[in-house]
């Protein structure tokens, strides 16, 4: 899997820092935000491929952040990660376009598999859009 960029959003600074360090070690580009608003300010559709988003955060919660992130960067995939297992928020997340909903603690190898898969979905979606655009320009019959 090629390098891609991840935005880690979690109000637990220790967890966020450790996660960024671990993802860096695996050659992924990574930066962090401590709350939903900061994350939305930082989120760049042209830069971030995947957002790793905590569900329960003070201020703007994970689900609201997800909704706004999907508006700002529809192609960026969002993987939700939570220490508070809740089916309701899990289903809410999937309904609003989250790629996956994971429980803490999460084995980092497993997490990377999910992030890889999320990135692959993003790439596939991008290719589909690019193909449609090329076809449109070339006036190819569909």
């Amino acid at each position: 899997m090629s390098n891609y960029s991840i935005l880690v959003v979690d109000d637990e600074a220790d967890f966020r820092d450790i996660m960024i360090k671990k993802l860096h070690k695996r050659g992924l580009e990574c930066e962090g935000a401590g709350d939903g608003d900061t994350a939305l300010d930082m989120l760049n559709p042209n830069k971030h491929d995947v957002v790793l988003l905590d569900v329960k955060m003070p201020g703007k919660g994970g689900i609201q952040t997800l909704k706004e992130a999907k508006q700002k960067a529809p192609m960026t995939e969002v993987v939700m990660l939570t220490g508070h297992a809740s089916v309701e928020s899990g289903i809410d997340g999937i309904k609003h376009g989250a790629f996956d909903y994971l429980m803490k603690p999460m084995d980092v190898e497993r997490l990377i598999e999910v992030l890889d898969a999320a990135y692959e979905r993003k790439r596939t979606q991008m290719e589909k859009i690019e193909l449609a655009q090329v076809k449109k320009h070339m006036a190819m019959p569909s």
């Binding site: 089916v87 429980m103 890889d116 898969a117 193909l131």
Partner: protein, 844 residues
């Protein structure tokens, strides 16, 4: 239904009902479907893994928490919801009923796994003498019992008050502690002692750091001041735990929660918070986990009792734990009872009759005649009180008491005895005594036998190092060693009596325990010993004669609330009712469990993918004829990135060297590993059957043209291959996805048909099943049809499996014709296994 009928009519008349797509459209459609298919498969794996985790936890005897159940149930539910979304998308909106079934099951599951923190409503404080069993939710078990005991004639309790569960709840809510604690719990690995200690410290310091709300703090000081006013002398408090669920017959929590002694006004707040935080001490957490208590249902109430200036204290079991009928035990020593329950003090023992005048049956005290007379008198007082308490509470009691300087007896605690008495010394043990006796103890903490390597605990750090199934050896049986009993096969302590907290917990956990075994800490770490706790003897090595008589240990979780929640949750998750995809009941509306929904989604998604070729045809030029010297037609359709870059898309032909689909290349290699020996020599009857089958089923005759029947098609991308084959009279289908993500990898094989009669066709399927099972495939058979699957293995492993399928696809042609001939089954089995072993030998 109308569409389907119309389709069949059109089909019969030779009209195609499916639109022809350009290669680009076909590729886009495939990519979309395949993305959903892959996500569905991953979600399926995640859900099944979580199901297996829950099933294993329930059946392998390990301890698990509500957080574990909730976390896994959430993984299952969220992934199944994802599966439904993927399937509905793949199937263009069909199967909408699944969401309804899911919501219905989910609602029931939610009621089981989501326990809110118990809502304790009411006063923040209760005078101790007002606490009764009816107010147990407010006062906690210990204080409810003690308060009620104080109302009985002949029973004296210290003055004091209870800080209720309602106050605890207020304190926790004001500081938002419940969500923070739940989050830490979900992330705790209960099998990792170090992690558990760390998390426990984290939670405890959260509680200790949280400020007590001003109104609560003010009232707490008021309560203390009122107590001082009433007593008219300086008062110091014993601040004691009184949790809900503590001090019951099922679970004593003996010594696991904190007690602060000699507490004055200045230390009151700190002591209160210390007792509250001990709810989450690692030893209490492990005990709750082992006994299957629901953490949200553990509410700590706190008893604040005026300290008794004790000259003598002790523990009384109103029914002797030696099991001797008609007798009760009184253990005692000078001063407070702490040294007795910690096992650090020398303890005297009186065995007293249970009926008046409570005569002494046996006693170990060495004292002057005057002291002995006084002690006999006190023993009678204690025995009288014990029987009053037993009669009132209706069950034998474990009682803590103190006698003050004025000789007045105070009851400090009365709870049901949590486990039955020990066994008497037995004959088998006695016979073994002379064999390899290492050490003799004096007290049986818990009867039974066990064997394992010695592990002497000398410091707190050793707690993290103790190997599983060790014989735990300690100097004093302190309650702080309670977590180790989960890992230990037996306990030996140099000091202590049956009245100690650790002995009580050993009995609850069914861990054989010998106490007062002087010199035990000199045993060598790692040395294998056998413990005969019934006869208080430690032997060198394993003494099988003793161990054979050992009863299997009970699972401490049996019948617990957490175990019940797990069983109830699994009832909605695990049972599989939808087993036969051909059954008319294999419908979304028939899904009764979450497992049914996964099965349904998986099956239907596979059908959606397999029908891809049937459902969509493609314009000429999309398929490339593979150049090969095999006398069969192979066509390849590139669904994504299965051809080399720069391949001439205008060409009608392709060479194998221009294909980069790794699964296809593996199948191809298997097909070409050995030349086909040609059709087997069949009898005249066999050939007749072949012609007969051709006339009955023109669809299986390769001479009859149809879109995807006559030619053999590979649908490929770099990581994917779907091969549909009709060779002779059977149909085979191989499908594989092998990428860098292990969870997504799979190989599926389907096989059906043949020209011979059914018995022979079934014979061939049996042969295939035998070969494939030998190579770790999971097999499903139904008549002459077979499905074989293997998933989530290494890439090399799966590529080899594809080679095997390629080989079998070619070499099982027409052998059904001879499957009834003697020795043929074995001959083919041997040949196939030999060829395959040679073929994959290089990879090994």
């Amino acid at each position: 239904m109308t569409n389907s009928l119309l389709g069949r009519i059109k089909s019969l008349l030779g009209f195609s009902t499916v639109p022809q797509l350009s290669l680009e459209e076909l590729q886009r459609l495939f990519t979309e479907k395949y993305c959903n298919f892959r996500e569905l498969l991953t979600a399926n794996n995640n859900a099944l893994e979580a199901m297996a985790q829950m099933e294993n936890a329930l059946h392998d005897g390990r301890a698990f928490s509500m957080a574990f159940i909730r976390s896994n149930a959430t993984v299952i539910s969220v992934n199944i919801y994802k599966m439904i979304q993927c399937l509905v998308t793949m199937a263009d909106g069909r199967y909408g009923m699944l969401e309804e079934r899911f919501a219905d099951i989910q609602q029931q599951l939610d009621n089981i796994i989501n326990h809110d923190v118990i809502k304790v409503e009411g006063r923040w404080f209760l005078p101790l003498h007002e606490a009764t069993r009816e107010l147990v939710d407010l006062a906690g078990e210990k204080m409810a019992n003690l308060g009620e005991a104080g109302s009985l004639a002949g029973i004296r309790i210290p003055p004091g008050f209870v800080v209720t569960g309602s106050a605890t709840r207020y304190f926790f809510q004001q500081n938002n502690l419940y969500p923070a604690i739940n989050r830490i719990f979900q992330q705790t690995d209960p099998s990792n002692m170090e992690d558990l200690h760390e998390r426990s410290n984290e939670v405890q310091s959260l509680i200790k750091r949280a400020p007590l709300p001003i109104d609560l703090e003010k009232q707490l000081y008021n309560q203390f001041d009122q107590l001082v006013q009433k007593s008219k002398t300086p008062v110091k408090l014993a601040v004691r735990s009184s949790a809900l669920g503590e001090d019951t017959r099922q679970a004593s929590f003996a010594g696991l929660y904190h007690t602060e002694l000699h507490v004055d006004r200045d230390d009151l707040i700190y002591s209160y918070k210390s007792v509250l935080s001990s709810t989450y001490s690692s030893r209490a957490m492990i005990y709750r986990l082992t006994k299957g208590f629901i953490h949200e249902e553990t509410i700590m109430c706190v008893g604040c009792l005026a300290m008794i200036d004790a000259v003598m204290s002790g523990v009384c079991y109103s029914q002797s734990i030696s099991g001797r009928p008609g007798a009760m035990d009184i253990f005692f020593s000078a001063g407070s009872a702490k040294g007795i329950v910690d096992g650090t003090k020398d303890t005297q023992h009186y065995l007293v009759e249970r009926s008046a005048p409570y005569g002494t049956i046996h006693q170990t005290a060495e004292s002057s005649p005057a002291d002995a007379r006084l002690m006999d008198e006190w023993a009678r007082d204690i025995a009288t009180a014990a029987m009053i308490l037993e009669n009132h509470f209706g069950t034998p009691q474990d009682i803590e008491w103190s006698i003050n300087k004025e000789g007045l007896l105070y009851i400090l605690q009365s709870r049901p005895i949590s486990v039955a008495g020990k066994k008497e010394r037995d004959q088998v043990g006695k016979r073994a005594v002379n064999e390899h006796c290492l050490l003799q103890g004096e007290v049986t903490g818990c009867a039974g036998t066990a064997s394992g390597p010695v592990f002497v605990v000398r410091s707190n750090l050793d707690v993290l190092r103790i190997p599983k199934h060790s014989v735990l050896v300690v100097e004093h049986p302190l309650p702080q060693w309670a977590p180790l009993l989960r890992k230990a096969t037996a306990l030996v302590a140099e000091t202590g009596s049956e009245a100690g907290h650790l002995a009580t917990i050993a009995r609850e956990f069914g861990v054989p325990a010998i106490l007062s075994a002087k010199g035990a800490t000199k045993l060598v770490n790692g040395q294998i010993v056998t413990i005969d706790a019934t006869n208080q003897t430690i032997y060198k090595g394993r003494v099988e004669a003793l161990l054979q008589h050992d009863q299997p240990k009970n699972n401490p979780m049996d019948g617990s609330p957490v175990q019940k929640a797990m069983i109830d949750a699994l009832q909605l998750i695990s049972p599989l009712h939808l087993t036969d995809p051909t059954s008319p009941y294999f419908r979304s509306s028939c899904c009764q469990s979450l497992h049914d929904i996964t099965r349904f989604c998986h099956e239907k998604s596979v059908v959606e993918m397999f029908d891809f070729g049937k459902r969509y045809t493609f314009k000429k030029g999309a398929a490339k004829r593979l150049v090969d010297n095999m006398p069969l037609e192979w066509w390849v359709i590139n669904l994504a990135d299965g051809f080399i870059e720069g391949f001439d898309s205008g060409s009608n032909y392709i060479n194998i060297s221009e294909i980069i689909s790794t699964p296809m290349l593996a199948i191809w290699e298997g097909m070409h590993a050995y030349g086909w020996a040609g059709p087997p020599q069949a009898s005249v009857r066999g050939m007749g059957s072949l012609f007969f089958q051709s006339t009955r089923q023109p669809g299986i005759d390769p001479a009859v043209p149809s879109a995807m029947v006559q030619k053999n098609y590979f649908l490929v991308s770099r990581n994917y291959c779907n091969l549909s084959v009709r060779l002779g009279y059977h149909y085979a289908m191989v499908e594989a996805y092998i990428s860098s993500l292990r969870t997504e990898r799979y190989v599926t094989f389907r096989f059906k048909g043949g020209a011979a009669d059914e018995r022979k066709r079934v014979g061939r399927v049996e042969l295939l099943a035998a070969v494939l099972e030998h190579y770790d495939f999971r097999i499903e058979k139904a008549g002459d049809a077979l499905t074989a699957r293997v998933e989530k293995r290494s890439q090399a492993f799966l590529f080899n499996r594809l080679k095997i399928l390629g080989y079998l696809t070619i070499h099982t042609r027409q052998i059904d014709m001879v499957m009834d001939a003697p020795g043929q089954y074995k001959r083919y089995l041997d040949k196939f296994l030999l060829d395959i072993e040679e073929m994959i030998a290089n990879e090994k």
